[in-house]
Symmetry: none
Subunit: 228 residues, 4 copies
DNA sequence: AATGAATGAGTTTTCATTCAT
DNA sequence: GATGAATGAAAACTCATTCAT
C-alpha cells in the first residue's frame, strides 16, 4: 500500500538465532547458512540495490521463498549479512593478542592485522562500502552492531601508554585518530583498488604491490608515533 | 532492456560536447547541465543501481525523455556524471601551484588540499565509492578518464626531490605510495564517516572533528618524510 | 521493507482529477476511465483480496503498468472505484425529486428508487458488501466519501413532516430508522440473493420475483408509517 | 495449485465426522475443533480470498500440515466452517419454540430471535456476506446445506394461519416475503454497520443503537401483518 | 498424529526505455 | 526541442500446498 499506513500483518519468520542450539533442526541452520553465504557474495558484489534475490536463491541452491521464510525481506537479509561480517571482524580483532608484545611491535602487528584482514576478507570491504553509500542506515538500525564498538581503541590506548613509559612512543598520540589512520591506510588500498588500478593503468592487487603497500602503511604509522 | 547484456543499437545522441560552442542552442546546453546536476545528486546518493531515472527527471525539472535524448541511457548518463566529477577533480589538482613553495610546506598544502577537496565535494567521494563498487567498470570504459592520470604524482616527485636536496625530506620516499597514503587519509574520513559515526556513536562530520582529522593527516604524512 | 519504517520515496502519480479539465490529454482521461471500468467489474466480482491486477489490465485493454502510473497501487485503485460508485449513488439520490409529490407517494417512490438503483447497479451492491467485509476501512479513509452523508435523510424528514401535517403519516416516525429499513429491504434482496436462491432452491433474481419483492418492500414501509 | 481449475486427485482426508464417536481419538476431534475455530475467525474476518492458511495454523496453535491432513484444502476448510455456522443457525431456529404462543407475540419473538442471533453471531453474518460475494458457490456445492432449507418458513406459515383465524393477523401475507423482510431488517443492521457508521459518523453498534434498531424492526413487521 | 522445512506458481510492484504528438 | 503517455521485462514478495521425518 502506498497511500495509508496499514497495520502490516505480522509475518512469521523462522530464523533460528544461531546462538540457540535448536537440535531438532540442524538442517534448518544449514539452510540459513547457505542463504547467508550466497547473500554475502551477492551483496558484496552488487550492493543492496544491485543485488538480486533470485540470484541469491539460485546460488544458495535453495528456493527463493526460503529467503523470505527465514529472513523476511531482502533488506533484512542484507542486515543479517552485514551483522555477520561485522561481528566476525570485531571477533577477529578481539582475538588479536597484543598485550605481551613490545609496544612498537604491537603497533606493527596491529597495522599488519588490519591490512591482512581486509586483504583476506574483500567482501567485508565491499559490504562496508555499500553500507557507507547507504549512510550506514542498516548498521545504525542494528542494535547489535551499534553496541559493538571498536574494541581496538582500548587496546591501542594501552599500547601507547606502555610505549610512552618505555620512552619508545612519544606522548600525546590520540588513539582514536591513530586508529582511524590505520584503518584508512588499510581499507583504502582495497576499497579503491579498482579506480586506482584503472587510472594508474596497472594492477594494484597483486601480491607484490600489496606487500609494498603493507610495508608502507606500517612505516608511516610507526614514523608518526616513535620518539625521535 | 534492463539487466540483460545488450547489443546497443547505435542511437543518435544529441549531446553537444561542452567544448564545442554550439551557438544555436544555449538552451540545449542548459538543459543538459540541469540533467547532469540532478543526475549527480541522485547517483551520488544511491549509486548506479539505486538511482532512479524518474527521480533525476523530476529533480531536473525536465522530463525523462530528455535524458534519453541527450544521454541515451541511464548508464551513459552515469558515465557523463562520473567524467565530469573526475575531470573537475583533476583540474583542481592541476591548478594547485606547489612549485614555488618550501618542500615541506608544499606537502602540507597538498595534504590539506586533498582533504579539503573531499570535504567540499562529498558527491565526488560517493561517486568514487560507487564506481569502486562497480570495479571501476565505467572509469575503465572511458578513454577520456583513463588517460587522465593523476598529475599529482609528478608534482609530488618533484617536491620530494627538492626536499631531499635541501635535506628536509629523507631520501627514498616512494611518491606513489605517498600519494596513496595521502589520498587514503583524506578519503577515508569522508567515505567511511557514516559507519564510523554509527559505531563510535558520535558525529564525525562536524567541523571540529574534521579539523582535528585534517591536522592529524598532515602530521602523519610529514612525520613520515621528514629527516630526523 | 518489513523491519523498519522507511521513508517511502514519493511516487509520482499522474491521476488527473476528473474535475480538472486537462485539455491536453483527453486520451489520458479516457485511459483512466477504461481502467476504472475494468477495475469496478473485477473488484465487484472478487472483492479487494480476490481481484487481480493482471485481470484488470487485461480487461481494460491496457498495460498493467498504467494502473500503477495512474493509481499507484491496487488499493488506491480500489478506493477510486469505491469513491466513484459511492458518489454516483449519492448523486442519483440527490437528483430524485420528491418534494412536489404527495407524501405517501413520495415514500413509495423513494423505496422504489432505492430498490431499482440496487437492481440496476449490482456492482455497487457488491462493492458495498466488500467494503463492509473490510470494516469500511477504505470508506473511512476517504475524506471525500466520509463527508458525503446520505442526503436522503433530510428529504425523508421533510416528507414525514409534510405527511404528518396532512394526517397521512403518523407522528413519531424516526427518519433514520426508516431510512435504514428502506435500505435494508432493498439491499438485502440483492446482496443475499445467491445464498437465498441456493437455500430456497429457486432463482430469486428473475424479474417476476423482483417485482413481488419490490411491491412487498413498498407495502411494509407504507404500513409502518400510515395513520390507521 | 492456487487459482487454476483443478482436477482434484482424490485425497484421503481424515476428518472424523463429528457425529461418529471415534473413541480412539478424542484428541483428534479436539484438534479439528481448534482448526475450525481459528478458521472461522479468519474466514469471517477476511473472506475466502483474504484468509491465510498460515494465520489459521498460527491461531489454532497447530501447524499448517494439520489443516491439510484434516481438511484437504483451504477451500474445503472454508466449506467446513460455512457448514458448521449455517447448521448452527438452522439448529437454533429449530429450537425456537413458537407454537404455543399468541401469534403476534410469536412473530415478535421471531423477529427478536433473528436480530439477536445475528447480534450474537457476528461471524455468521460475515460468513454469509463472504459466501454471497462468492455467489454462494460453496453453499450450492454442499448437499448438506442445500437441503437444510429454512425451517422457519413453515413455522411462519403456521403462525400466520393461526393469527388469521384469531383475526389478529390479516389474510394474504406471504410467509416467504415476510421471512425475507425479517431477515433483511435483522441482517442489514449488522452486515452494513461499518459503512453506515462511517457515513453517519457515529457508532451504530453500541447497545443503545441496537435496542432502538431491534424495536423498530419488530414494529415495522408487526405493522405490516396486523389487522387494522 | 504431528511438525518444521521446502516448493512452485503466482501476484503486486518497479523501472528503464520508447512512442506519439 | 520538449512533453505526457505507454510498454515490456524484470524485480520483490506471497501463498497454498507437499515433503520428510
Amino acid at each position: 500500500m502506498r497511500t495509508a499506513a496499514k497495520a502490516k500483518p505480522k509475518k512469521i519468520i523462522k530464523k533460528t538465532l544461531s546462538g540457540a542450539p535448536d537440535m531438532r533442526s540442524r538442517r534448518s541452520e544449514q539452510t540459513q547458512q547457505q542463504i547467508l553465504a550466497a547473500a554475502e557474495v551477492e551483496f558484496a558484489e552488487k550492493g543492496l540495490a544491485g543485488a538480486r534475490v533470485d540470484v541469491i536463491a539460485e546460488e544458495s541452491g535453495l528456493n527463493k521463498q526460503m529467503i523470505y521464510y527465514y529472513y523476511g525481506s531482502k533488506e533484512d537479509l542484507y542486515l543479517a549479512v552485514l551483522e555477520r561480517a561485522y561481528t566476525a571482524m570485531r571477533q577477529s580483532e578481539r582475538e588479536l593478542n597484543l598485550v605481551d608484545i613490545e609496544p612498537l611491535d604491537a603497533i606493527r602487528k596491529l597495522v599488519e592485522f588490519k591490512f591482512d584482514y581486509y586483504a583476506q576478507n574483500p567482501r567485508t570491504i565491499r559490504l562496508l562500502a555499500a553500507e557507507n553509500m547507504q549512510n550506514a542506515e542498516f548498521l545504525t538500525k542494528s542494535t547489535r552492531l551499534r553496541e559493538m564498538h571498536a574494541s581496538l581503541i582500548d587496546v591501542l590506548q594501552a599500547i601507547l601508554k606502555a610505549g610512552e613509559k618505555k620512552k619508545l612512543i612519544r606522548a600525546g598520540v590520540d588513539p582514536v585518530q591513530l586508529y582511524f589512520s590505520i584503518a584508512a591506510l588499510s581499507y583504502f588500498s582495497f576499497s579503491n583498488a579498482p579506480t586506482l588500478s584503472a587510472v594508474f593503468g596497472r594492477d594494484l592487487s597483486n601480491s607484490h604491490e600489496l606487500k609494498k603497500r603493507r610495508a608502507h602503511a606500517v612505516e608511516i604509522v610507526l614514523d608518526h608515533i616513535r620518539v625521535r
